[in-house]
Amino acid sequence: MAGLNRFDKRNRHERRWRGEDRLDDRNRPSRALLVALLLGCLTLITLDYRGGSDSPLEPARRTVGEVLGPVEAGVATAVRPFTAVPDFVRSRNALQNDIAELRAENSQLRGAAATSSYDRNRLEEFDGLTAAAEALQYALVPARVVGLGPSQSFSRTATIDAGSDAGIRPDMTVLNNDGLVGRVLRVTRSTATVLLVVDGESVVGGRVGESMDLGFLHGRGILGAQGRLDLELVDDSVVPDKDDSVVTWGSESGAPYVKGIPVGRVTSVFSSVRETTHHAVIEPYVDFGSLDLIGVVVPSGTRSDRAVIEADGSLQ
């Protein structure tokens, strides 16, 4: 009897301990779960890394893009009037500075600046894009940037609000009024992902405008004021001049880059003795920190869900 009692007590004692253990367990993570999650991550990385461009995760990317792309576009549209305010103020200020400088000799400018407004700026951008289409003799689908990848991801990509419905396909050239922006990587129905030329993995064939020499432009993966491209010339005997402009030399059938798009200008040249080639640093014409309206080069006569700017400047 006494023995049974003791057994009972110990049993209860043990049960209580086990109970507390379980309580503790709730705060302590299960090893198995953590290991499973980490293995899941490594599996994803391996699948995507080995798969390359036709990785098994492309359908998943596409699906997530179909869902989140329109949401991104919606948010971007909602915040655009607010985010455009600093631009507007800046361009007004710039205009007013101009007026101060030129007031004595040009009173017309004053009137022009007084009527300038946000809408007018936007219109000028579209005008610029139309002019670009005319000058370059390519048809363009206009689109807006609705998302930029964070620098923490160390790749420079953007989402635009036009996709396969607008006639956009992968490996099309993307540009704006200033010059080359990048190329289309993948599309969903209503959005597309663009690889910017400043991305560390971007390589563009370039031609130095003055000497027609060929080279390759590599991105540095840095955005903003330090966004630069490195030009490596094929012919090691030529030295590009400072301020020479660089244009794309284009690929066969225009994919991924059509020819003759201005990219940037040479800011400095240096040569390495060991590699016996000259490297030039190119400052892109495009300000990648404030991308907004862009155009995607499409074949003339493309069916699209929006107006296509044809090469003669007309809308279709």
Binding site: I45, V64, G69
Partner: protein, 170 residues
Amino acid sequence: MSVFRALAAGLAVGLALVLQVSLFPHLAWHGIVPNLCLLVVVGAALTRGPQFAAVLGFTAGVLLDLAPPADHVAGRWALALVIVGYLAGRVRQDVRPTAIAVVVTVAASSFVGTSVFALSGLLLRDPALSVPDLLQVILVAVVWDIVLTPFVLPLVMRMFHRLQPARATA
């Protein structure tokens, strides 16, 4: 209830992701934006512990890896955020964390998260960037995340606290 909880957590992560991609680039410094998804994961870790946070970290990471305009090798952010969720959950005590503790946890999590992502990139040679460049980005990201902490963390922590099962049954 648990479906509702999962849905709410998923929505929080989705909202964080969309804001991070579409709104914050306008305020970015050299393209570096506050990592809102990481802040949500840290908030979950501080209120709900490492297990929940690791799962949420995995979900948020996979979304970050797949949502446009991401183009890096998928699974890298997932790996970084699972580790962040687990580590941040470990510092949680049963008492409510003080403001200083929260800020320190966010700073450490941000540093660890972005570093793990950068290191995985170095191993896979995904970005061709130098270590000083990486470090600069990591440090600016930490500062951004700390700046956003007072605005985001109280909201996130209150939400996860409300959704706690113990409170729901009590």
